[in-house]
Symmetry: C2
Amino acid sequence: MKITNLLYQILAYAFFIQTLFPQEITGFLPQNVGTHIEWERKFLSLPKAGNCEKHLFILTEEPHPAGSEASDKVVKYIDSVFKSYGLTSKVFEYWAYLPYPEEVSLELIQPEVVKFELKETTWLWDKDTYDDNIFTFYNAYSPDGVVEGQVVYVNYGLPEDYKKLKELGVDVKGKIVIARYGKSFRGVKAKVAEENGALGLIIYSDPMDDGYMKGDVYPRGPWRPEEAVQRGSIYYMFEYPGDPLTPGYPALKDAKRISPESAKSLPKIPTMPVSYKIAKKILENLSGMNVPEGWQGGLPFAYHVGPGPAKVKMKIKSDWKVRRIQNVVAELKGFVEPEKKIILGNHHDAWVYGAVDPNSGTSVMLETARTLSELVKSGWKPKRSILFCAWDAEEYGLIGSTEWVEENLKDLSENAIVYVNIDAAVSGKNFNAISVPSLDNFIQEVIKNVNDPESGNSIFYEMWLKQNKENGKKYNPDSAKVKIGRLGSGSDYTAFLDYAGIPSIDLSFSGNYGVYHSQLDNFYWMKNFGDPSFKYHETMVKIVGLILMRLSSCDYLPFDYFNYAIEIEKYINDIDSIFSEELKSANLNLSGLKDKVSKLKDLTMELKEKQKMLLQIETQKIERKFTPKEGLWNRNWYKHRIYAPGYYQGYGYQSLPGITEALSFGNFEVAKNEIKLLEKILDDVNSYLQNLLKTKSGNK
Amino acid sequence: MKITNLLYQILAYAFFIQTLFPQEITGFLPQNVGTHIEWERKFLSLPKAGNCEKHLFILTEEPHPAGSEASDKVVKYIDSVFKSYGLTSKVFEYWAYLPYPEEVSLELIQPEVVKFELKETTWLWDKDTYDDNIFTFYNAYSPDGVVEGQVVYVNYGLPEDYKKLKELGVDVKGKIVIARYGKSFRGVKAKVAEENGALGLIIYSDPMDDGYMKGDVYPRGPWRPEEAVQRGSIYYMFEYPGDPLTPGYPALKDAKRISPESAKSLPKIPTMPVSYKIAKKILENLSGMNVPEGWQGGLPFAYHVGPGPAKVKMKIKSDWKVRRIQNVVAELKGFVEPEKKIILGNHHDAWVYGAVDPNSGTSVMLETARTLSELVKSGWKPKRSILFCAWDAEEYGLIGSTEWVEENLKDLSENAIVYVNIDAAVSGKNFNAISVPSLDNFIQEVIKNVNDPESGNSIFYEMWLKQNKENGKKYNPDSAKVKIGRLGSGSDYTAFLDYAGIPSIDLSFSGNYGVYHSQLDNFYWMKNFGDPSFKYHETMVKIVGLILMRLSSCDYLPFDYFNYAIEIEKYINDIDSIFSEELKSANLNLSGLKDKVSKLKDLTMELKEKQKMLLQIETQKIERKFTPKEGLWNRNWYKHRIYAPGYYQGYGYQSLPGITEALSFGNFEVAKNEIKLLEKILDDVNSYLQNLLKTKSGNK
């Protein structure tokens, strides 16, 4: 017993010593690190799993798609919770063109007649599965129409899948294509089907991708059961996100609206999602050739491409209306530069209940708001303001966030430091972060200071372990790095990064999330499979809280642009090797870009070395320089020249999209201009940095 | 019309010119190449697909397992066909211990009671599926017994699968394990299950491995339907092949026999095969943990490891008897050295009808016998004899061939040049060859001279294309090589190579062979899926014929031992890198081996350069030096020190098995001796070569 006591005393002493020699935190001057760490330690004791659970329970009470009455209740709840913490909270209204399903039907009419029921199963233990207001099997923004035709299986419906079909001699013109979910955004599947001449599109969830081939299905496990459908928008977000009728400007009540016919972002062929129970009935009635390698899914027969004999008739009719949507924005005011803002955001609308997507993020946001408010009440004085934003109509097309960014572009451009997104924040235990390269190191530092609630190891270590599990590497705490991904699209950071040029981060704990956009993404699922103890919600509050605390309190901004420069250099070299023939034939060369990025590396390295002496320098604005006024040649709304969502991916990112897409579409004149433009951008950044370093070097 | 005629004349002329400047053929002196090529050209016009089809139809008339009455009819047919071609044909009888199924049953007794029907489906269009003499679901040599227990799923039943289960805390002691076919020989699965303490073993064909996940199942396609079972022997062939009761000596009628109890090659736990229809019922009733990554098969639910709740009761009772087996051996006598022999072999016994396995090979052999006999009648005079051997009881444990090799060891050792095996010769269109390294180049030369019947390209080019399809290499006829595999076990070359040290080759055209060892491996399947036109049978006759013609007529033997030396060097280096720690800790080193193999490379290179001047040198005997009298430490019957079937693989080969297996089992004393032994072997080969090159160099 004595020995145990002694051991505790030694441990306590070691802990005390550690507080005397605090770690380094990028962004803080050595003399301020200790105080900040004390505040962080206080903060880390505040988040409560139980609060997240309570919020989630309330937020997921009813199906609440954007524009619905239930959504209005959610808005009022969020607003009242913010206010109860003493924050200034405000509701921003926009008016967006949102279709609701009115009549959707699908029939197999050959080789036998089957009228499919477009409703998920009810389960006795879960009253949520009985609600009458659950949307049917619906892909929002599908045009109205009745189409009938033989079916062709197109795998994931990617451009290369159609190319393969052409090689096999299979033409989809006049056919109804059936594609499985996965690999690309569903709107891209609709676009590619349209380009290939299909009459209509059916999208289904194959058991290979999120059903029984992954693990046990609901109710035995978390994966998608045979009748659970993935709803979702097929909005052409790769053209522009936000309200279809007000591209590039805020959808205020009295805004001038374009006609739906002229909206480039509206899909052109009838599209609907089905479960794999329905897909099975269609796919097992396809003949024609056997599918190419890699196309076989998890249904228990050999897949064929068709066409036919399966023939289907689908009907889609929506109630098309301009509906009110509402963002809730709450502010925790900064004490030194209140106009400068760190923005935390997530949407609140859901296709059905949305326990994971989006409400896990919303409950994390509410608990973060509470804990940081309490910290302020205890005396913490962040220099900069923190905004908590609950966006509406993300599911339809990132509408709430996009309209707000379009409305507040000037202020954001001047004052926004970083945007942090926490959509679908918790569906399991695996931490993921994606961001711009300048924030890689910042994120890694943060997650070294938050522990995994199960293992007790740092989130950083757990992430390292998962990324290096296979190759048997040894963990070296001094040199270990984790891979931070890059931002494509599919959530509300899009307008911030791609349109306004604000450095962004997206965070989540992912898991065996087989119920995405089905009625089963509800409280019961979260409580039984996703995060039963809500400890990963609590942990996400800690991570998000530390990020907001550091960014709002730091002495200098912790961006690492040298890392950004290295990535840009890599992207340039990638183009050089992938498009070497095109570049040669078009007489284009990248040597100008290479020189400039090499200079950028030198300057950003110098910036990095001197950053501690360069207080109050607004290095966040470097990112703005990547978003010139001229948009991308093939989708004008998108401005960012280092990243855009890949045109034919939707979720994934495309590096140097202007040059890359021009080259891959063979548009060499545009490629030339885009190379020039990027040269100009790099020149601008370089002279900005040169001036900065010259002017401020005297400050030593 | 005129122009076409002219074109034909030009082509004919080009052909004529080509005959004037014939290609080089390794094994032939320049002055003899032309004549030989003329004979080859004559030969290539003789094989007829229709003859192969006719033989196959007759050979597959009834189920004919070894020792059965139907098998006797097959023997008589083969013997009479050989005789009708004017060959000397002789039947060799042996008496082997062969069990027949007497009573086999399987019941699910928990969570519900299901008595499984152990019979494949009947199909109206195929009378073969109605035969009463088809063996039930049977793994020959399973011990008799009744066992009952909860079930555990063990994936492929490899040692690493059980290791994984142990890590998960799942013990198979006292349980009945269910393993899927694939990755290892089924006898190895039984051995590993026994070693791990399982009560019994069920082996099933997962649809992932040869069912609907591969393509359409019978009758729509060639793959395994849900009720088709893979029968097969679980004989511990890795201990020794051949009759269990006469290890290492011929099973003549009055031979002294050991007791079954003392036969190391007899399995110890009840084992039976089932279809995936039955396996589904068992596997879907397993709970316990979800399976590890890579263990999920193609049945439409998430697999669990168990144990239970599924509980089964299996009963196996065999009719154990010493039965007569019969090899048919026909001879085409050589004209110069008739005692020297090239041996072509394949078994004739089948689990059921055996259209692919083995009769495609037998019909090829019969047509090869006919065409070569005709050639002799036209005046072709091979120097050496050719033997055509139809082995019995291969399916039980390579028994017919093994007993014959054991009986004729002295003569074979002295006179056998090469053994060529053509078991399961045609199940599709993809050519495969495996051999000892000294025959790689020989095989490649041959298949450059036979064309694929569909594409018209050479078999060599087609094989190169398949092996290099993915990596986008360009075909260069001068430097292109194809990969020839190495011999493990699973067919009748085993006794020839591993016991007698005779250079061997195994050939096949493989395809979508989903009916292996089921009743559906019958004439209907071959005619509809395997080789409907029998053109690939005909092509195999051409390949085999050229091989036999070249080996029986060549001026010097076309072995390339330099290639063998290179492979041996690679294997030594592999051991050095894989077992570096073990070698160090046991104070063993491979430098002696490395020196000797380096010398071997020099000498074999010299041999290769001078081979044209070294006629009548019996270089086939170099292979014999790899098979010393002392067998491998852990399975004495196996003598070859460069290759053996991997102890825990069965079909796959293990290079340098003596050293490798000693090291991997941690038996360092044995490893030391095995290193010494291999040094001695290499020394022997080196001095043999030195003498040879010294003595004969004067011959120039």
